[in-house]
Symmetry: C2
Subunit: 348 residues, 2 copies
């Protein structure tokens, strides 16, 4: 093995030393059909065999010797497709895809954080130019499978632990939250609550931290009772808000982790007979289109969602064409959009 390994690696400075399925098979001590099955993600290969073959494939930088090695496709994977949020990101990716004459294959994971079992196999058999995972992560094994297929990965608002080597795109969540909270403080609010999302998600964590930083800097203590964690949807946020409003000393302002939650605040306020912004100020996050038409129009932090999509797609195209990504992590700026859901607190 040392001898053949040496021979193979000597030649591969530039010329992709014609590593064929047969070569890999020989080196891994299996037959060509087995290697073929591993490459195409077909079932029916023992896990240990698959691992061994993958290792050899990866080590020798196997490239399909056929033509048609790569399909002009971008894989776009979404945690869920449940808000305009997703639509704007898709538009961004579509824009780059159109320019580059690439097709976009869209997959939703129905709220799961990791693609299902069959997904990687499908992707490998499609041989796309690359994968963009939005608000979702791949398992280590799935990442390894993509790597063996030489399929690059870019994440957008990754969920779990930041992946060591995976380039990612996001927005300036921390500073957006900071500016939003300062806005409420400047209006004179002191009892400010926050509706958080799941804190294992870095973007949720960053928004909470930005909120806390602004409060600390202003010397206003954060009342732990006013910080609630819940799902990023309208209904749950409405329930949390209702609970907050029943407190002996309810908040005069709330900062929500996204616009959907902020809508839940609207709903709870309406049901409690409170008026926004007179009785309660609210700031959202995202600036989805309908925030402009809410009653009253919502003050929110704008995230350049479409541009996040184009950025991720452009990074992917660059990586796929052999360029090293300029940065591992790109954060696009956020802006506070002041509309009519925030005002000075009612003087008591």
């Amino acid at each position: 093995m040392t001898a053949t390994g040496a021979t193979a690696s000597v030649g591969d400075g530039r010329r992709r030393g014609k590593v064929t399925v047969a070569t890999i098979a020989r080196l891994a001590g299996v037959s060509a059909p087995t290697v073929s099955r591993v490459i195409n993600g077909q079932a029916g290969v023992a896990l240990s065999t698959r691992r061994r073959v993958e290792a050899v494939l990866h080590e020798h930088g196997y490239q399909r010797g056929d033509a048609a090695a790569q399909a002009p496709l971008i894989e776009l994977v979404f945690h869920a497709l449940d808000s305009l949020w997703a639509l704007e990101i898709i538009q961004g990716v579509e824009e780059v895809a159109r320019d580059q004459k690439l097709g976009v294959v869209l997959t939703t994971m129905q709220g799961r954080l990791t693609p299902g079992a069959g997904w990687t196999e499908q992707v490998l058999s499609r041989r796309p130019m690359g994968v963009i995972a939005v608000l979702s992560d791949l398992t280590t094994h799935q990442q390894a499978q993509l790597a063996t297929g030489s399929i690059p990965l870019v994440t957008l608002d990754p969920t779990g632990e930041p992946l060591h080597d995976t380039p990612s795109v996001g927005a300036a969540n921390y500073s957006g939250a900071l500016v939003a909270t300062r806005h409420l403080l400047e209006l004179g609010h002191r009892r400010i609550g926050m509706l958080c999302g799941n804190l294992k998600w870095p973007f949720c964590r960053a928004r909470l931290d930005g909120f806390r930083a602004a409060m600390d800097q202003a010397g206003v203590p954060v009342d732990p009772d006013l910080v609630r964690v819940g799902p990023l949807y309208v209904e749950g946020a409405a329930r949390e808000t209702a609970a907050l409003l029943r407190l002996p000393e309810p908040p005069t302002a709330l900062f929500a982790t996204n616009d959907l939650q902020a809508h839940g605040v609207y709903e709870a306020a309406r049901e409690a007979g409170l008026r926004i912004p007179d009785d309660l100020s609210v700031v959202g996050f995202d600036d989805l289109p309908f925030t402009r038409w809410a009653g009253p129009p919502m003050t929110t932090v704008r995230q350049p969602l479409k541009r996040m999509g184009t950025t991720a797609a452009a990074m992917l195209v660059a990586i796929a064409s052999g360029q090293a990504p300029r940065e591992r992590r790109v954060e696009l700026t956020t802006d506070l959009i002041v509309r009519q859901s925030t005002a000075r607190p009612r003087t008591r």
Copy 2:
């Protein structure tokens, strides 16, 4: 040649063309190596031979056959990706695709009604199982190209003239509009206006016709001044509504062709200092999620958008697997959802 030609076409009930170098060679009366040389632009082919081979290649849309004959893909083409409307349809298509282990390739046309020049070529080279066109149409030539590639087409809310043979899916637009208008009539409204979309689109036309039918049946004349045609977005509808409200005898109720327009009505009412439903009743169409959280929650006609997506995808799968579609046109039912944007007209 007649004999071989017949043999080829007889067998292809299920298996599609699979035009290989060998096929082209046979049809052009040359050998496979010669075709190979033409394809790869190699020298050493007589000009006349080259021309002949090129003609056959082009005529049969030759694609490199190394890859599989048909890719497990559904092409989903959208007129535009600008509303939750699109997202729900995508979810439906995704659901069927997931079950069938198909990928979904999403294309947007940026508001154009017909895919651009390069689109058909890309689709042909992807060899998908079929195409779903939403709120958009293909040119006759594009349809012919798909037909040559044996790629079936299903339309969802088709735009131009209903295509002779193209199966399509839609909602019960006429009866939905009828029921919505009756609801307003039953509340006591007589000066009812309607915001229309472009009437060359069958679904817009059907909603206007349903409105008229309900008015006629109730013996209430339609005032032509109260029927406005405009884009299906918030802003335009707000302008139209503002104009209607400035009329000497303004409407007491409006029926909008979609929820986005109805939101425009909300906006115009707010700016005119009118309250919904006290001063003006509004009914939308679609029942997008945010209508529930509007201020006040919107009365609207529910379209089963997700189910429209699954229905279109299921039709496509059936057709692709060789079944004749049970019906050419499927219309799913619509339901009036009464919330709080409609009330009796103010007595004067």
